[in-house]
Symmetry: C2
Subunit: 455 residues, 2 copies
């Protein structure tokens, strides 16, 4: 994969100047088109070998283009707030909105590659990471993100020459960090591991472009030309939604077993309820103050039909907790900042720090419930959501987040009784809206969607 980038390609100064002029105009034009359309975002990854000109490339791109429409993210050591969340949180946090370009200097590839080279992980771990990356980038692409990945490459000899030259030059000496020397010693390992990662993750919707970094002119023109082509292709073909694929029918009404076999007549006598509630709240309180909570966080999800008791259950849950350590997130319509990013962004942003609870009143399952039933999301979107949701929860789980999801169910008749009751009781009026009444009409469709979730 790297051989062609080691040929020592060069570009003479005159050709460079000519191409630079053309490229700058065309790139600005493309950026303008991107901002004007404002319906997709661009993620540019810059990775590669030390000394191959990653930093210079990013700086020059910012200079040639309109830096106001570019968000450059230097992903160095994670901060404390980042370390307390699942690994991918910092990348989700930095995803650019539609209409903008997000450059990632260091990315989700850095840790998997560096950890494998240093022996902290083994081949199986690397494979797992690569699979996760593949799914993450597929999700980004499905959400309309244009992904372009650049790998600045140098052969071992080229790198040696380059680092020596940088170190000799007083002006550039600062660029050679102590770890650069170390990494040079590991060049062969780094190359081998990177090659595996790149080969496996170079896919049509997120290709790797390996750029020879020995000659700055060649490197810069090659990168900028490719970036321009990527932008133009997307802009000119005005690609619609991802192609509609034929989807398997998930289930018919006969499959609605989970809900229909629920025994909705189960009851707890009031006295017993009070006793058990108090005892359970006491246990929850003790657990929430356990020493181990300093390294864990908790995500609770409440879903269920209207009037099923989500609000009341949440109130009785948080009654056992210290308000300093939880946040209840009611999921309503997304804000415009949320709409400008991939679907799950609005949930990622609320993930708790260690020691904290986030309680979602409705959640990412809305994608495969209300958005599916009401037709807010096209079928291709909610179909892929099942996999994306699994990935999201797996990522939380891997970080040690304790996840519990509750579906609160009532019968259609019970719901009707409660709606009526609410209308009559004054201080519960605040909960009932027209929409609640309207949603009842789609009971069957919801029931099917719910069963697809659980089964």
């Amino acid at each position: 994969m790297f051989e062609s980038a080691e040929l020592g390609q060069k570009l003479d100064k005159a050709t460079f100047k000519k191409r630079e002029l053309e490229l700058r105009g065309a790139l600005l034009e493309a950026q303008f088109g991107l901002a004007e359309r404002n319906d997709f975002s661009v993620v540019v990854l810059i990775g590669g070998v030390d000394g191959a000109g990653k930093g210079e490339t990013v700086n020059t791109l910012n200079f040639w283009m309109d830096p106001r429409q570019i968000e450059t993210n230097a992903m160095g050591e994670p901060t404390q707030e980042e370390r307390e969340r699942p690994r991918m949180w910092r990348f989700w946090r930095a995803l650019p909105p539609q209409g903008k370009i997000g450059i990632f200097f260091g990315s989700w590839y850095t840790a998997p590659i560096v950890d494998r080279v240093s022996g902290k992980t083994d081949d199986a771990d690397l494979e797992t990471s690569i699979d996760e990356i593949l799914r993450f980038e597929a999700m980004l692409a499905s959400e309309g993100t244009l992904i372009l990945k650049y790998w600045m490459h140098l052969s071992k000899q080229q790198q040696k020459r380059r680092l020596n030259a940088l170190e000799k030059d007083l002006e550039t000496r600062w660029r050679v960090t102590d770890t650069d020397g170390e990494k040079f010693k590991l060049y062969d390992d780094f190359r081998a591991v990177s090659e595996i990662a790149l080969r496996r993750t170079s896919v049509p919707h997120a290709p790797w472009i390996v750029v020879g970094g020995a000659d700055p002119n060649y490197r810069m023109i090659t990168t900028a030309t490719s970036l321009l082509e990527g932008l133009r292709t997307r802009l000119d073909n005005n690609p619609p939604r991802p192609p509609s694929i034929t989807l398997p029918k998930l289930s018919g009404p006969d499959d609605r077993r989970v809900l229909q076999t629920l025994d909705l007549s189960l009851r707890l006598p009031r006295k017993k309820y009070r006793q058990e509630l108090q005892s359970l709240q006491g246990r929850l309180n003790l657990l929430s103050r356990d020493e181990k909570m300093k390294e864990r966080s908790v995500v609770l999800v409440f879903e269920g039909a209207d009037a099923a008791g989500k609000g009341g259950t949440i109130r009785r849950t948080v009654a056992a907790l210290d308000a300093r350590f939880y946040r209840v997130i009611p999921i309503a319509a997304p804000t415009d900042e949320e709409r400008a990013r991939p679907y799950l962004w609005r949930f990622w942003r609320h993930l708790p720090r260690t020691g904290h609870f986030t309680i979602f009143d409705r959640s990412w399952y809305g994608r495969v419930l209300v958005e599916r039933v009401e037709g807010f999301a096209p079928e291709t979107d909610w179909m892929r959501a099942y996999g994306e949701i699994n990935d999201f929860e797996a990522e939380m789980h891997r970080h040690g987040v304790i996840i519990a999801k509750f579906w609160l169910h009532i019968s259609q008749e019970e719901q009707f009784r409660r709606f009526k009751g609410r209308e009559e009781t004054d201080h519960k009026r605040y909960k009932l809206t027209e929409e609640d009444w309207r949603n009842r009409e789609k009971w069957d469709a919801y029931e099917e969607a719910i069963c697809n979730l659980v089964e």
Copy 2:
């Protein structure tokens, strides 16, 4: 101020139960009104003496009300990301949007009081902090925020009894931290300093309510009743904009000296320009990599007429910088998350970490330029902005942020030439909009607004 809260007020259980029932219904109703109106936010501060029931109060409020519409912020030790920004950043960051209640457990009062008690600061510092708080809260109130501040109080004897009781009880022992004992020793100092702070900052738009904390029933009912009253008063009186005060006329057209005395004929020969640019960029680059930058951050502001060259100047500035350490923020229309919070929130959120640059292409000065001239903001709003902007910049300065603000000016004739030129040059087309042409018509009004800024 505290005497009346030391009388040992009590509430019997029967009265408590009765009031609880009434209050819960009424609080939910008020919360519903707040969410429905969705045009102001509520900031509730909970401070006071250790052991006086601050935590319990917040927990109970969350239980009695709808916790989904409350954001409880526990302001303990600042995180690394917070420490790298001006002191008030973490509070700005946590301000609730309109329609919601933000409870601050620990607030902007904590550090000034604790630092004074520990002797880290002197009386003059405390006074300065108090002045800042007064201006900050006045700003919040002017932005429509309902501010309610509760101080949970205990006399020295009451505190001693309470901490002893907590420590004996295995269930509550965890609540008594090591520092609680220490703080008890400093009770008198803490009380004295708190009294100064509270007395000076209890103003009509942000009153302190001192609550006796010896009896939990009394504490809870008193706090909830006051919160309800505060909410109801605002909801029922539907208070319009803050009263319109008679404003001094800032200046007439004759005062437009700053701009009119500018010598717009100054020119630099191209060769000299290139030389100096390169040399200055080199110096800027060296400075940006100075060891001291690890503890400093930089905020640059570019304002100026359309086509005055803001974009080009920014591009040539960032050309000297490492893209990993700067972010250019173009200021356009606010997002809905920004509109739901005080005006300056959208600028605060972009303040750089140490070692980083934030470059604003247009800025908070829009309030007293475009919003003033176009009538987007009422006069009372843009008039108070002058003071708020000074406070904002003073806060940055105090943290060691290096601030530089540039006004790029051209004549009306030069602007016309450039607009024409842009229309003709293909690759600069992207910059010109209808609005640019329209804005020209208000040249005089803008010139006056600008001079008010600078003079």
